[in-house]
Symmetry: C2
Subunit: 373 residues, 2 copies
């Protein structure tokens, strides 16, 4: 065995480079498309993970017509690329109302509000055709009206329904606390709780005369692990296109589904602490960390098995420390002896969304460049 | 008082925007230049913090002639901008030898090695004029030959001195463990220990006939807090140009020296948990965190005092949670009531190097754009 990625990457790596396993990503997309079809739920994948027009086209080729993004700029870029049904899954940012209005005149634009003030601002916009969701906090505790604050939710729905400028789409949540789970049962418990809370909000709105309320949910863990989507209209997972070590720890993916890695040159070897230094730091991977086996915080893990893919995390080689450009990998004696300065190793990321955001482009294993917006 | 930055920023903010307090940054540079002059030590500031040709020119205007960078690409960009004396303070990355050779033919280029293999590779390069430092680990435990491994250090010095291609510059260290200190005494203890260890390495090399060995040290905390630089040839601090909450916690700077902040729109308010949601997340600030008062991990802190500057951290408003684009700020009742959705707040960063790396440009408080390489 040799740990150097030189052996199987089809082009020379000079510096930290984001690699994409195209076959895995396409398989991940196909599986989620099929899963949603089988479950009878509309799939509106979140594109903030890949932020690439080319990768977006892979989704379109598999029948995806509507997408989620997290900023006005992303919505503009994907609208430019031909997407006509886009939800910005972030509480509406009022300083960008002018751009939002322009965009809404060109495509079916979905927006989120979780405050009366935002709903009023949208209801007074000199434009029309805004599809507005009320963001609900179903337990995560980040954004959204608390699911049991029926009064406030109904007031916002009323504002949206009374205005000729806005169309009340329904209620939307993101159960990000599924990321804290480390078992299928834990994720399913959150899914069931969130789905039930959303359905109870819908019922409460119906009782107040607010009909036509759709329900949108769906982070990657619950979308992958749950099977029961009865009463749910759409799901919006994003990370599943690439997965990462965190999803693996949660149980959402297997080793052979992680579709991105950062190729990093080895620049130092320190035998007395059995560590290798790589050119690959916080500006290439992000400082997102993951507690492994309840004892060690890691920032990534090497994949060392030569294959026609990105391989699997090799737990004998975790990335244990990260500064701006430096990464320290703790390795076994065998791996230490096998690696030389100048070799290139692959780092599987803790959180692919943040890692990919740090790079301007992807390179497939065959050496093709894929750009990011 | 109003917390909204609208009141004093001279231009409209629509999305997370990196602001630069030009007066503070220039004062920070002037103080360090004066400090080095007084201490009789050569200043080779690290430009990885700002990565801006325009800001680099402020240093040049104050007499700085030589700089430090952390990558070949940064060295190329600053060489292009007219800098002729650049040290790449990162163990030499062998896959980039071709670019390094080209650069070395154009400017005075300093490189780092901490392994025989790297020294041999440089000694065989078909070029000449490489100024090579041996990187020493004086206690930090990241990169470098351990300071007490005199044998290995001497072997590398021998390789460099025997080759007509390389010029042995001296020994260089970065005492990054000063960042773990939270007192002046703690930082000074590290400074003294590192400086003494470096001097003992120099003596050991001299005893083996290796003359002309310079000593280069200097992170921001030790460069700011220490006064005794006897026997030291140069210092390489970088962060001091902007400082940040971490430097403030270490004791390297005061509140009124932090020179960058990210302006973020308020997008949500949650009275039941007294939190405000800002459009500003890991992709705008980085996930670098700081333990405050030994109990709370924060990702930034608001500055809420209107003034002709970036103000001061207001500890009634720490940033307690961060995801890709979302940031949650825990605030007092008074601040909660004072802020409205659509307002813009300023977030002082935990680690300015990582925050600035996430942005393509700076905006001065007067509304001038400053580009990054």
């Amino acid at each position: 065995m040799s740990g150097s990625a030189h052996r199987f990457i089809g082009f020379p790596i000079q510096r930290p480079t984001l690699l994409l396993d195209e076959a895995r990503a396409k398989r991940n997309i196909a599986r989620m498309v099929e899963k949603a079809r089988r479950a009878g739920v509309h799939l509106r994948p979140h594109f903030k993970t890949h932020q690439s027009v080319e990768i977006g086209a892979w989704f379109k080729a598999m029948g995806v017509e509507s997408i989620t993004v997290s900023s006005v700029e992303m919505a503009e870029a994907f609208a430019e690329a031909g997407w006509t049904d886009i939800t910005i899954a972030f509480p509406v940012n009022l300083p960008q109302l002018d751009s939002i209005r322009t965009l809404a005149s060109e495509i079916d634009l979905g927006l989120l509000v979780d405050a009366e003030a935002s709903a009023i601002a949208l209801s007074e916009i000199p434009s029309s055709g805004l599809n507005v969701w009320i963001k609900i906090d179903a337990g995560y505790g980040r954004a959204g009206v608390p699911w049991d604050d029926t009064e406030k939710i109904a007031v916002i729905a009323g504002i949206l329904r009374r205005s000729p400028k806005t169309h009340f789409e329904g209620i939307l949540t993101h159960s990000g606390h599924s990321y804290h789970q480390r078992s299928r049962d834990g994720v399913l418990a959150i899914h069931t709780e969130s789905a039930n809370r959303m359905k109870s909000v819908k019922t409460a709105l119906l009782e107040r005369g607010h009909t036509g309320c759709k329900i949108s949910i769906g982070d990657t863990p619950t979308s992958v692990l749950a099977d029961d989507f009865s009463g749910i209209d759409e799901i919006r997972p994003g990370n599943f296109v690439f997965y990462d070590l965190m999803q693996r720890a949660i149980g959402s993916c297997g080793d052979d589904e992680i579709a991105v890695a950062v190729a990093c040159p080895v620049v130092g070897k320190y035998r007395h602490r059995r560590q290798i230094l790589i050119y690959g730091g916080a500006v290439h991977l992000s400082k997102e960390h993951l507690l492994v086996d309840n004892e060690q915080d890691i920032f990534g893990c090497l994949s060392l098995i030569p294959a026609e893919s990105l391989g699997s995390p090799d737990w004998r080689a975790p990335l244990v420390s990260l500064s701006q450009e430096h990464g320290l990998v703790e390795v076994t004696e065998e791996i230490f002896n096998d690696l030389s300065i100048g070799d290139v190793v692959l780092v599987l990321p803790v959180h692919s969304c943040l890692t990919c955001d740090l790079h301007r482009e992807y390179w497939t294993l065959g050496g093709a460049r894929i750009s990011r917006i």
